[in-house]
């Protein structure tokens, strides 16, 4: 981790200091000024922006290292600047408090944008190393003399709005060499470190997820649950976006969802999420597993970027994105499948996701993750290639390898895809599918087995990952089920393994002539 410490002030630079609260400011401070645009012609000076280096940075320090309400300005102040010119600009804040942690730095840093835009005649744009500030001529006319006044006003807002900040100190820099040096040596490494931490953040690391109901106008029962390991289906909203939006408008489309207890760490089921889903969907569904394809999957809105589809013929999952117009190996196009699945329904066998979910460490982990994936269009596969584990990447077919189920079967056999012999899910090492081999050997029996086992086994073994064919939409009725009803000759052999069957009533009736035999 980059060490957090006060910056060193080089010799020979001009330094101004001021400690304590300002009694009065020569400008108004109000959220009313947010969005105020200072036009080039009305501008006194520009700080940072397209032509000059700049950055803003919040660093959490121990309490004894922060001098409360102190401002240090290094470099020329406003009265030494020439009208109409652009200058380098860095704003560094040291903060301290019992609840202040390094993890909060980015959250606190974001607020600099809000607070500074409350200041009349001061425009703040962008973030991090992109900051762009304009100070209006009007502000100068009204009596703004020094950047120290700006820093004091900002610090005051910080302390008022975020009371957990016990001490705050600001260092503003307009000296070009120092801004550039600190940008490269201090700020950039910290920004990179933060991004790396984001990649590593998991569902387990946070207490709250965020909901998104932005698209409920199209899908009234859809509730997107956005967690660190699961971005929204439209691909636009990450956990960080949800958190930012929920802070601004807690009752808006992105609300905090307390996780509650974790019911199923592998499938990603939480009591808080279940309660929220039940309430927001109007009781339409009661359980959601964030990282499961087959069991209580997340609902699909209509906005999703990619749809996943189960192919019982190969016992694997394919994915197709919006931009791919050809039919997938199951014979259906993205839009056909999306039409069946969208609208905020929980449809077993199909799942809408955002492309960013392919990056997730928990990507459908309950159902084998990448090891259950058998097909995706080349364009999509290339886009997410670096997130596919090395040992499976070449075993996932694209349209160049297979366009039909038969071609897909051939390909999977040739590359020895895990679905052929049975998938072991990496998350806990459990073997979750049996593979095809067994099925082929005892073809007839296996067919009967599935048909007889499925309805009974479900309540007894909720962990069984076999999807129930009857839960699928009509057009998906699989090859597995058809022979079971049409080709049922006399002398049926039933094999039931590891099953507990509870039956209230059984009626055995002699088959009627015309139905017997089928053909």
């Amino acid at each position: 981790m980059v060490e957090r410490k006060r910056i060193g002030i080089p010799e020979g630079v001009k330094v101004k200091e001021s400690v304590g609260e300002e009694a009065e400011f020569p400008f108004d401070i109000s959220p009313m000024y947010e969005g105020e645009r200072i036009r080039k012609g009305d501008m006194f000076v520009e700080l940072g922006g397209p032509t000059q280096p700049g950055f803003e940075l919040v660093m959490a320090l121990p309490v004894d290292q922060v001098e409360d309400m102190k401002v240090t300005l290094i470099g020329p102040d406003l009265d030494e600047m020439e009208e109409g010119k652009a200058y380098p600009y860095a704003m560094i804040y040291y903060i301290a408090g019992e609840m202040v942690e390094t993890d909060l730095e980015p959250v606190i840093e974001r607020r600099n944008h809000d607070f500074q835009n409350y200041i009349e005649g001061y425009m703040h744009l962008n973030q991090r190393y992109d900051i762009w500030i304009r100070i209006g001529k009007n502000a100068i006319k009204k009596g703004l003399k020094s950047l120290i006044q700006i820093a004091k006003a900002t610090m005051m807002l910080y302390k008022n709005e975020l009371p957990f900040i016990e001490k705050i100190e600001a260092v503003y820099i307009t000296d070009k060499d120092l801004v550039e040096k600190l940008l490269n040596e201090l700020a950039m490494p910290i920004f990179e470190e933060r991004d790396a931490r984001v990649e590593a953040l998991s569902d387990e690391d946070v207490d709250e997820f965020y909901s998104c109901t932005l698209c409920q106008s199209f899908a009234p029962t859809n509730v997107c649950i956005v967690s660190p390991d699961r971005p929204s289906l439209c691909g636009a909203i990450t956990w960080f976006d949800g958190r930012a939006a929920a802070k601004v408008d807690p009752e808006g489309p992105n609300r905090a969802v307390p996780k509650g207890e974790c019911v199923d760490p592998i499938g990603g089921e939480y009591t808080g999420v279940n309660e929220f889903a039940k309430q927001e969907s109007g009781g339409e569904y009661e359980r959601i597993k964030l990282h499961s394809f087959f069991e209580y999957p997340h609902t699909s809105c209509g906005c999703f970027e990619v749809i996943g589809f189960y192919m019982p013929e190969v016992d694997g999952i394919g994915w197709v994105h919006r931009g791919y117009a050809e039919p997938a190996p199951n014979g259906l196009t993205f839009s056909t499948m999306a039409g069946q699945t969208g609208g905020g329904k929980q449809v077993v066998g199909f799942l809408g996701i955002g492309i960013a979910y392919f990056r997730s460490k928990k990507f459908i982990q309950a159902d084998g993750g990448w090891y259950r994936v058998v097909w995706m269009p080349k364009e999509l596969k290339e886009r997410v290639a670096k997130y596919i584990p090395d040992d499976i990447r070449d075993k996932i077919a694209t349209e160049e390898d297979a366009k039909t189920l038969d071609e897909l079967k051939e390909f999977l056999k040739k590359v020895d895809h895990p679905v052929v012999k049975g998938v072991v899910r990496p998350v806990d090492g459990q073997k979750i599918t049996n593979g095809w081999v067994e099925e082929e050997e005892e073809a007839e029996e296996a067919v009967e087995e599935v048909a007889a086992e499925a309805p009974a086994a479900q309540p007894a073994q909720p962990a069984a990952m076999q999807p129930m064919p009857m839960q699928m939409p009509g057009f998906q009725l699989s090859a597995l089920q058809i022979p079971a009803s049409s080709a049922a000759p006399a002398g049926v052999k039933l094999i039931i393994k590891d099953a507990k069957i509870t039956i209230d009533k059984v009626i055995v009736r002699k088959a009627e002539k015309e139905k017997k035999g089928g053909k």
């Binding site: 947010e34 969005g35 105020e36 645009r37 036009r39 080039k40 012609g41 009305d42 397209p50 980015p106 974001r110 944008h113 744009l125 962008n126 973030q127 991090r128 992109d130 762009w132 933060r194 991004d195 984001v198 932005l214 698209c215 929204s232 289906l233 439209c234 691909g235 636009a236 909203i237 960080f240 976006d241 930012a244 489309p253 809105c301 209509g302 906005c303 999703f304 970027e305 919006r322 931009g323 492309i355 960013a356």
Partner: protein
């Protein structure tokens, strides 16, 4: 903030009206935002500033769609705001200009549009005058990218289609609950007294208020065809004089309303 939306069928001269309003109103205050909300129109050309346009709002929205996965913890609303302020708003000497550009492509724009609405709302409230050149479908209003209009000016010529469109715009504006204070009509390219009489009858029937009747002026029509800026219109022409009167009327109206 006073929002004036200028709508009408293509070819009736609504862009000419919008551009002249921008020119006249910005003589009184530089707190003016001109918005080109018609993908088929050419407000920047009519204002003579097409060389200064960097990006349309639509282009920035597309850029957002492809870059958003790589933004990490960056705040996306701030990202969009920064791009819009830096690249979509064109700083002309007396006013700012925003070109909305093409409507969205495939995929989900719920989030992008939701952020855009927030950014635009905060931006727009700081201008004294916003003049919007909008297509007849009022798409940006129905999508709430722009949430209200104080005055709606419908521009029509004598064509049956122009009048039918004018009627539809009025109905739509009422349905969308834009909370407008007044809805006006400007009749353009009116070549005869008969035509003027017909227009007056139409205005009465539809419950509109007639703001101006502009004659057919060959030099204006040619200028429009060539895509030359309206600033080159003959200062003594009837079109120019009448539009100046319209602009002062709008200025007076909005001052009274405040």
């Amino acid at each position: 903030m006073t929002v004036i939306a200028v709508a009408g069928k293509g070819g009736t001269g609504k862009t000419l009206v919008s551009a002249l309003l921008v020119n006249f109103i910005s003589e009184h205050t530089t707190s003016v935002l001109a918005v080109d909300a018609d993908p088929d129109s050419n407000l920047p050309e009519a204002l003579g500033v097409e060389d200064q346009i960097k990006k349309t709002l639509g282009e920035i929205r597309e850029l957002f769609q492809v870059s958003r996965d790589e933004m990490g913890t960056m705040n996306k609303e701030q990202w969009l705001e920064g791009k819009i302020y830096a690249e979509a708003i064109c700083e002309c000497p007396r006013y700012d200009l925003l070109v909305m550009g093409r409507p969205e492509g495939e995929g989900c724009y719920c989030f992008a549009n939701s952020l855009l609405r927030g950014v635009l709302r905060r931006l727009m409230r700081h201008y004294d005058y916003i003049i919007i050149d909008t297509e007849a479908g009022l798409e940006h209003f129905s999508r709430k990218t722009i949430d209200s209009a104080d005055y709606i000016i419908i521009v029509t010529d004598m064509s049956r289609k122009g009048l039918a469109t004018a009627k539809r715009i009025k109905e739509l504006a009422e349905e969308l609950r834009l909370n407008f204070k007044k809805i006006f009509l400007i009749a353009n390219k009116i070549a005869s007294e008969d035509a003027e009489r017909a227009i007056r009858k139409f205005v009465k029937e539809e419950g509109l208020e007639l703001l101006a009747v502009l004659p057919y002026d060959t030099s204006v029509a040619e200028l429009d065809l060539r895509g030359d800026p309206v600033s080159e219109i003959d200062k003594n022409s009837e079109v120019y004089r009448k539009m100046r009167e319209v602009a002062s009327l709008m200025l007076n109206l909005s001052v009274k309303a405040r």
